[in-house]
Symmetry: C2
Subunit: 381 residues, 2 copies
């Protein structure tokens, strides 16, 4: 049927019907007791996903807004900050810091590499570093970085550890408190199975101490303003009430399934995607192991442009994967397997990919090879 | 029926079923051509509501985010700015400016007064003023200020005119270009009949000139970043796609009805609300004329606390009006009549108000007096 669409992207991800129903329910007034109760429950559920006993602050905005809050609330002019990047989203920390007049020490890695905890800790230790900014799931390359190791390595320097978990929260483990992550930021539209429009920031007591002294200007994204309101189960500014209602329901579904079960599910989908892609004769761009549980990135065959393949998939087959970003544009494609995704979405992605590649002149080793291999993987326990 | 709710507030306002359906439609990916087309149309429709030929920039955020963008994109440290206020939202401009280290010249009016164009222009003329910040509909008091007169008075000073139209856009006239308004900011959840989560800023060529030189830090709310993306029918950051789909549909409904017809409708509802409130023996807080078309504010009878009345209305009758804010808390209540509202919503508000006041010990001049008077008003052409 024309127009039937399959969103198999690193976000926004498909939203379960139960969550759509919650989003479409009659609007709550944001100052009403029923909404306040719903907001309070939502924050408590978020804390359990973040694995933190400390504050999780909610903002109406894109994930980038929460990232920006972690710059504006922690730094003051002249502060030393370290940004470690290995892809497009890691580099976003650079742009945010520079927008506020902070030139961070840049621990640059090749796109697709894994962040090196030793290099990051060394950079943090070379001066009095206020904060280290890293990425958990680098959506542009599919690599999930080892936040636990990075936080452990940075700890002796005393620098705050700030993690972009926008595309990973809920999809892979993030033990915020146990790992010593001071600030983690996330968004609603990835593994949390909600429409985009909400962003979150967890704040440790150490981060609060720094925020009390930080002098960069902020109001809409001011953690103090957000926390003062949240202490009363309220928000400082009219929030996206329908998306909060959706998130409340989505987190209920996530808790019913269980975090660990979801992480295992994502690893399983990722394994099927990796094996299927290889069976199509394509090379993986990211590491061929269990860590890249959110996004599978792979290189295009010689002579085939990834953006053209993306367009054929989308326009002829209704399948929306993701192309490459920045310097990887045209060279890679990406399958997202976070959120409301199952084995058959991976099979669909691989089937569509084969059809699109065929149209562009690429012949796989055998007809249906990618889907067949994924099915084989999924048939094993 | 328990739980049946009537949202008769100054925002969020009820969302029409057609708009809820658009919000619930399968999610668009924000980089897909169908979403880009929808975004482009939405911006064009917004421009017609703003009555501007210039840019209208869209942000995922509360209305306050767009207000903050008008501070961060226009001012530099040491700049002279003028804020004119006559209520809670006017004072928000002060807080935003101060958060960025700007101490504005404050043209303070009593809450409930109408902003005085002469005083504002005089303050703007006393020094080299970069921008004057005012409010169109002061939701905390129900007063709609005369932006045309303020802009005309300020024009000779050369200061930019920045208008908070968050709760007025689409409900009363805002002839952005014709009146010489440089920046108007608005939100999705008031007269535009959408859920909260989107904010807008119109930017005149003069405002762009200043924004190019302004040095206050910003990235998420940076107009240049937003405009660069919008030039390609794109957004810089993953936007609230479901609310944009809702807004696209809501603006279609608004255009089908016609702006002038909606303004007249709102004035008519406001007249019914004012007359009904007076027939209940209550005193209006705002002016008793055609200008207060968005919100009708009225004083509580002696000895009756507005917050208690608000609670009884809400908890016993499912009717959500608004109480007073800040220094007016407990003293006034407010009926919102913007957005998806009709005569019968006003009758319902007045009927509920009478029941709640009766429970709190207040007896109106005659049973059903408020509703009866509103029906009488609505019966006349």
């Amino acid at each position: 049927m024309d127009g039937k669409r399959y969103l198999i992207t690193p976000g926004p991800t498909p939203v379960p019907p139960e969550v759509v129903a919650a989003e479409s329910a009659p609007l709550h007034h944001h100052r009403s007791p029923d909404f306040r109760a719903l907001l309070g429950e939502t924050i408590e559920r978020l804390k359990r996903i973040f694995e933190t006993e400390h504050d999780v602050l909610l903002f109406t905005g894109s994930g980038t807004a929460a990232m920006e809050s972690a710059v504006a609330n922690l730094l003051s002019p002249g502060d030393r900050a370290v940004v470690a990047s290995a892809g497009n989203f890691g580099e976003r920390w650079l742009r945010l810091a520079r927008a506020y007049g902070i030139e961070p020490v840049h621990v640059e890695h090749e796109w697709g590499e894994r962040l090196d905890p030793g290099r990051i800790a060394a950079a943090a230790g070379e001066g009095e570093t206020v904060a280290v900014y890293v990425t958990q799931s680098e959506t542009s390359t599919g690599v999930v970085h080892d936040i636990e190791a990075i936080a452990r390595a940075v700890a002796p320097t005393g620098a705050l550890v700030v993690v972009d978990a926008v595309s990973s929260l809920g999809g892979v483990e993030l033990a915020t408190d146990a790992w010593g992550v001071d600030v983690a930021v996330a968004g609603s539209q990835k593994a949390l199975m909600c429409p985009p429009g909400l962003a979150f920031a967890s704040v440790s007591p150490r981060a609060w101490e720094r925020a009390a002294r930080a002098t960069l200007p902020r109001h809409y994204l001011d953690w103090r303003v957000a926390a003062d309101s949240q202490a009363k189960n309220d928000t400082a500014f009219t929030p996206a009430v329908t998306i909060i209602a959706a998130l409340h329901r989505a987190l209920e579904l996530i808790e019913a399934r269980g975090k660990a079960a979801i992480w295992a599910h994502n690893r399983r989908l990722a394994r099927g995607a990796r094996e299927g892609v290889k069976a199509l004769g394509l090379a993986l761009f990211g590491p061929d192991d269990e860590t890249s549980a959110m996004v599978t990135a792979f290189l295009m065959p010689d002579g085939i442009d990834g953006q053209r393949c993306y367009g054929v998939l989308r326009d002829r087959h209704g399948i929306v994967l993701a192309g490459g970003q920045g310097k990887l544009r045209g060279r890679i494609m990406r399958i997202g397997h976070m959120g409301y995704m199952n084995e058959f979405d991976i099979v669909t992605a691989l089937a569509g990919l084969e059809l699109a590649l065929a149209e562009l002149g690429y012949t796989p080793p055998a007809a249906g090879a990618g889907a067949a291999r994924a099915i084989e993987v999924f048939a094993s326990p």
